[in-house]
């Protein structure tokens, strides 16, 4: 039976068509002028104001870390039996947020979803900044951060090696690999854009800097061929990382025997949670970016709509995971598991459990409604809720399981200190400082990638790429 394109095709109704990826007339030249204007011009007053706020937060964080350094971990709330608290909560939180960027750049690239092109650059940058924030915590929580190099297996006078059977060491390798790969991926993507900036700029200093950073990129087709192959391979490799890095982080908990931690569903559950938290952060930042940088024609409501759908999907996966945890707590007939689960909803920290469930499962259900997916107010409400909910989820997992495990005589209440909060605030300060600087120094949209998907960008050969 012949079913090629000559067969009578059914017309596509309006409701099934997807909106265009760019609004209005966008040409490669206008794209460059719009996006590359930002690194080329001085930032407005509001930017300096915002930077002042983030730098203050960062300063508070640095002061608190300095205090921890000089006084010791006793400055934090960590104490028996909750030996891991804000330090690990924040670490897992920030590593999770990084995953959205990698998913957008790598996985969506593999699926050939062209809408990723406009947001991939920013998302990848957020990944790198988030991982930088995350890495602070393993370093400072060891008590003697200047000995952190002991985490690496180097030949030493004591003939000692690291313990490869510890998930904490797997973390070291995983997070370092993640950072290196993300950095490499981000930088490779930047090269053609920096080449554009190099050829546009009139300032000698900038031209020198961009020339060095662009490595002499000239857009040769033979180069593009290898470049595209490298990009595809990196996308495939980074996809593996999205799954593995947060799974390795989940192993920190799942390999133990603490009730509520040793659940086999932790690896995919953590990965889903990471994507969930990350996308929410991306949505929040992109809403601000598209408004303040007048990029509404490139970061369109379609982009936000699709990202909100991903957030909704992840919320459903989280709901499944919570239900499986609850079911297993009963099905296992294990009184410790059961107690641990009941603690989440009715214990001392039950309020944290309810914040988690409401922010992660209930509130995001609003995104079923198109109205909420296209309204700034609702989507920022949901995204903020998710960020808070995901932080509290780590709190629930870590503090609730630790504060009441097997031995009732060891049950205690955990109270964080102002230093704990100060450091958390500091990481937000670091993250947003880096975001602000990035927004004015490098192209926030991958102009090269977006140029490639503009209508008329490719020679016509009658093929579709969806």
């Amino acid at each position: 039976m012949r079913t090629d394109a000559s067969v009578h095709a059914v017309p596509i109704p309006e409701g099934l068509l997807e909106p265009a990826l760019t609004v209005g007339k966008v040409t490669p030249g206008s794209l460059d002028d719009q996006v590359l204007a930002f690194p080329e011009t001085k930032p407005p007053k509001q930017w300096y104001l915002a930077l002042a706020v983030t730098l203050t937060a960062l300063g508070i964080g640095v002061a608190c870390i300095g205090y921890t350094f000089t006084t010791g971990i006793g400055a934090w709330g960590n104490s028996s039996p909750v030996f891991w608290a804000f330090d690990i909560i924040n670490f897992v939180f920030w590593v999770g947020i990084g995953h959205a960027g990698t998913l957008i750049s790598a996985i969506l690239f593999l699926f050939r979803k062209r809408w990723r092109n406009a947001i991939a650059r920013f998302a990848e940058a957020m990944t790198i900044f988030a991982v930088m924030c995350a890495v602070i915590f393993p370093l400072i929580h060891v008590g003697r951060p200047w000995l952190a190099y002991w985490l690496f297996p180097y030949p030493n006078e004591r003939a000692l090696w690291t313990n490869f059977r510890s998930p904490l060491l797997w973390d070291v390798f995983a997070v370092n690999t993640y950072f290196s790969v993300s950095l490499m991926f981000w930088y490779l993507g930047l090269i053609p854009d920096i080449a554009s900036m190099r050829d546009r700029t009139t300032s000698k200093l900038r031209k020198t800097i961009y020339t060095v950073l662009a490595l002499g990129w000239r857009g040769a087709a033979s180069h593009w061929q290898h470049y595209e192959k490298a990009y595809l391979l990196l996308a495939g490799l980074a996809t593996g990382l999205v799954l593995s890095v947060h799974s390795v982080v989940s192993f920190d908990f799942a390999t133990s025997v603490v009730p509520g931690w040793h659940m086999t569903i932790f690896p995919p559950y953590f990965v889903a949670g990471a994507i969930f938290a990350g996308f929410s952060m991306v949505v929040m930042v992109l809403v601000v970016v598209r408004e303040t940088m007048q990029l509404k024609n490139l970061i369109t409501m379609r982009h936000l709509d699709v990202m909100n759908k991903v957030i909704l999907a992840m919320s459903c996966i989280m709901g499944y995971s919570y239900m499986m945890e609850g079911f297993t707590a009963w099905y296992s007939m294990n009184e410790y598991l059961h107690h641990g689960f009941m603690n989440i909803i009715t214990g001392t920290y039950g309020w944290a459990g309810w914040i988690t469930i409401s922010c992660n499962i209930f509130i995001p259900q609003l995104l079923w409604f198109k109205k909420c997916r296209s309204s700034y107010f609702w989507m920022i409400l949901v995204a903020t809720g998710v960020t808070i909910g995901m932080w509290f989820e780590r709190f629930v997992i870590i503090v609730i399981s630790l504060h009441q495990d097997y031995l009732p005589s060891a049950w205690r209440i955990y109270k964080p200190t102002m230093i704990d909060f100060g450091i958390l605030l500091g990481t937000f300060g670091l993250f947003f400082t880096l975001v602000l600087i990035f927004a004015r120094v490098l192209p926030v949209i991958a102009t090269t990638e977006v140029k490639a998907i503009l209508p008329d960008a490719q020679p016509s050969h009658g093929g579709s790429h969806e």
């Binding site: 079913t3 095709a9 059914v10 040793h262 007939m333 093929g463």
Partner: protein
């Protein structure tokens, strides 16, 4: 136009021979052996059908265009769920024989007593029937609607399917978890693993993909499915590769976590499967379900090579059978059983499945000709 080819007598003969062996198993090899095989093949049919239906729903959920030309194949494969239902209802006979939770002794077992009501035959059956009802509804909407659209050419189906797809995902999550916990891990009710639903999902999805690929190549070989190119094959191959890795990741995560914590009530599951002859089967599973397909599909060319894909698809389906066997048969105790009972059941069920699929391949057009995105799908280029 569907082609009416005569059913090859060898298939019918195999099914008849298998049927005789199946009956014989009950009386000669004992009810436990009979029921273990019956449950195995029920689970295989059900996961294959459900996995195929998942593919269909996923395509609607993400509004994929490239897959429209090949969507009819998993739709037809999903109809396997229909004969799976009577097979499943008969399989309920296995519950008192193989599932310790349903027996009266469970009421006194320290772990099972609290959930004996859940594991008992009436509640088990109720859940199974409920799952079947949901599955029939999903089939009617997704597959029935698609077949109707061939004739009506009404795009209303696309709207309906897109709206139904998220609901299907919820149904799928529930049903696959039920199958995993009730039918498979219910054989060892003192054991539990909350990733088990995800593990069975990975296997089901993979088997659906492999069956889709195999059917696609078979139809292409028959000269049907004109317009489907290597670009489409590549995507299918890429999914096979990606989800092979995903299955391995889930399988390894479950194993490694249980190995690491070494809790006696969890680790017993693996100790049984690493003892004696089962050890060889475990290694074979890792080799056939992960290592071989991984390296067979890792290169770009391999993913779009029809010969390679055909071999890997057959390998994946065999590995899925081995996976389910590895999960279910240790319930019989002792070393892995493989003899004329297993062969008869294989002949009977495999023959039956092939007969059914042959019939399904005649239903409706080979491509969803009523779908407005068919043209775009055919024009897809990498």
């Amino acid at each position: 136009m569907s082609q009416q080819k005569p059913t090859p007598p060898i298939l019918l003969g195999a099914v008849a021979l298998g049927a005789a062996g199946v009956l014989g198993t009950y009386f000669a090899a004992g009810p436990e052996r009979f029921w273990a095989n019956w449950v195995l093949w029920f689970v295989l049919m059900f996961t294959l059908g459900l996995g195929s239906l998942f593919i269909v729903a996923l395509e609607h959920l993400v509004s994929a265009k490239w897959s429209v030309p090949v969507r009819r194949i998993p739709e037809r494969l999903a109809t396997l769920l229909l004969p799976a239902i009577p097979v499943g209802l008969i399989a309920l006979g296995a519950v008192p024989v193989l599932y310790p939770g349903s027996r009266p002794e469970a009421a006194h077992h320290p772990i099972l007593a609290g959930k004996a009501f859940w594991l008992s035959l009436p509640f088990f059956s109720a859940r199974t029937v409920f799952a079947f009802v949901l599955v029939v509804i999903a089939l009617a909407v997704l597959v029935g609607g698609s077949l109707k659209q061939d004739v009506s050419k009404d795009p209303a189906f696309n709207f309906r399917a897109r709206k139904f797809a998220p609901a299907f995902m919820a149904i799928f999550a529930l049903v696959i978890t039920l199958v995993a916990f009730d039918w498979i891990s219910g054989l060892t009710p003192e054991w539990y693993s909350d990733i088990f639903g995800v593990y069975i999902f990975a296997g089901a999805f993979l088997s659906g993909l492999a069956a889709t690929a195999l059917s696609l190549l078979y139809l292409q070989g028959e000269g049907r499915l004109e317009g489907v190119r290597q670009d489409h094959l590549y995507n299918l191959g890429a999914f096979l590769f990606a989800f092979t890795v995903f299955w391995s990741y889930i399988g390894f995560a479950q194993y490694m976590l249980m190995w690491y914590a070494n809790m006696p009530d969890e680790v017993i599951y693996y100790k049984v499967r690493l003892a004696g002859a089962w050890r060889a089967i475990t290694f074979a599973l890792a080799a056939l379900h992960f290592i071989l397909p991984f390296f067979a599909l890792v290169t770009r060319d391999a993913k779009r090579d029809p010969k390679r894909l055909r071999r890997v698809a057959i390998l994946m389906l065999s590995a899925h059978v081995l996976d389910m066997y590895w999960l279910i048969f240790p319930a019989l105790g002792g070393s892995p059983r493989f003899g004329w009972p297993e062969l008869s059941f294989a002949l009977f069920f495999l023959g039956g499945i092939l007969l059914w699929i042959r019939g399904a391949m005649q239903k409706g057009e080979d491509m969803p000709v009523g779908d407005p995105f068919l043209r775009e799908g055919l024009e897809f280029r990498l």
